[in-house]
């Protein structure tokens, strides 16, 4: 009789064990970060971009500065196209700073002459939301500070930063004669993620 009772108890026990009593779920959590950054797409470097613009003869036949409109056209046409670059920034608040320096031969010019040509540089940045933000800097003034683009830079294919220049002038007015020589200037553009 005891045997019967023990068998019965064992059977009942086996039937009572729930098949799902074991752990059947596990979790793996993965977290990572992407830091804010900007990079150049294409070209030889991911952090700097460079283009060279040759404006050709800067003076007219009478020795004074060529018409500003003519030089502005040469600037965007020199090399076949306007200087443009593709910059990507993964932050929502990138900023642009521009520091343009005058065209000059260096050294001092004699009285009645000049070896300096000023201009205004324009850096236009395409926004992801559409439109562009343009940051201007005249060589007669200080460099701009970091100027917010006003949204993410366009991530669409193609160039999204364009550089132009206009308003070419000489100190002392349009009648000032330009010193002969090679003139060099620079437009430095700094784009930061925020």
């Amino acid at each position: 009789m005891k045997k019967f009772l023990m068998i019965g108890a064992a059977v009942a026990s086996a039937l009572a064990v729930p098949a799902g009593a074991q752990t059947v779920t596990g979790t793996i959590n993965i977290t990572g970060t992407v830091t804010s950054k900007c990079a150049i797409v294409g070209g030889g470097s991911t952090t700097t971009f460079t283009d060279n613009v040759n404006l050709g003869e800067l003076a007219q036949a009478n020795g004074t500065l060529e018409a500003s409109g003519t030089l502005a056209s040469r600037f965007v046409g020199a090399g076949g196209s306007v200087p443009a670059f593709r910059v990507v920034c993964n932050s929502a608040t990138p900023a642009v700073a521009v520091d343009a320096t005058e065209l000059t031969t260096g050294g001092a010019a004699s009285t009645g002459y000049t070896n300096r040509i000023d201009y205004v540089a324009h850096v236009a940045v395409a926004r992801a939301a559409g439109g562009t933000t343009t940051v201007n800097n005249a060589t007669t003034g200080a460099a701009t500070g970091a100027t917010p683009v006003g949204g993410a830079i366009s991530g669409a294919a193609g160039n999204n930063v364009t550089v132009t220049a206009d308003t070419f002038t000489t100190p002392g007015g349009a009648s000032t004669l330009l010193v002969a020589g090679t003139y060099n200037g620079q437009i430095a553009v700094t784009i930061t993620p925020s």
């Binding site: 793996i28 970060t33 990507v88």
Partner: protein, 206 residues
């Protein structure tokens, strides 16, 4: 006398329960015992789960994963007395930041999941992209690792998930590997914190 009465009572009860030809046993008589056959039928359901303290579980933090990539392996143990299936669900289908991304940008980074099951005498492996491990997906196209096996998106059921053909009770290590190379793009990953959760489930298999 009391013992005989109890014995006869029990015999009578058994005889009443059995429709076969009645036979009586008497204490000290002949026959003095009966041979009774009691058929006991029972079933024990297949045991299937993760071995205690060896469930899939890990927390990985991967700073700058878009430049560094990552490659992590989490081990766990199965405890199944029969064939089993293991399914994995990615909560985001990749590493997601949850922020909006404009044209040319993305807030979802791909990574791959490689599941390897080890049983007593069998094993199984498959590699899919996290993007494939969402409910209702049947695709299996990893981004970085070579493709192998078929979709093992969960939750696991008797017919869904990577199938291990035999029992797994000896404590062999099964693994789940997550891997991404440096992110190449395009589109561009927006800055921020990215995350995903893989939920691993197991079920007996048919």
């Amino acid at each position: 006398m009391r013992m005989r009465a109890r014995w006869l009572g029990m015999v009578a009860a058994l005889a009443a329960a059995a429709p076969c030809a009645a036979q009586t046993a008497y204490y000290g008589g002949s026959p003095d015992r009966l041979n009774l056959t009691v058929e006991v039928r029972a079933s024990i359901a297949a045991r299937c789960g993760f071995a205690p303290a060896n469930e899939p579980g890990a927390n990985y933090f991967e700073p700058d994963f878009e430049t560094q990539g990552f490659d992590r392996v989490a081990a766990f143990k199965l405890d199944c007395t029969s064939a089993s299936r293991v399914g994995v669900v990615s909560s985001n289908g990749g590493l997601a930041s949850g922020s909006a991304a404009g044209p040319g940008y993305t807030a979802l980074a791909p990574y791959d999941v490689q599941l390897t099951l080890s049983g007593n005498a069998t094993s199984a492996t498959a590699t899919c992209g996290a993007k494939d491990l969402v409910p209702a997906s049947n695709a299996c196209a990893p981004t970085y690792l070579p493709a192998s096996g078929s979709n093992f998106s969960g939750p696991a059921s008797t017919t869904k998930g990577l199938r291990l053909a035999g029992p797994a009770t000896i404590g062999s290590d099964s693994t789940i590997r997550v891997k991404a190379n440096a992110y190449a793009g395009p589109p561009i990953l927006t800055a921020g914190t990215y995350s995903d959760t893989l939920t691993v489930t197991i079920s007996p298999a048919t």
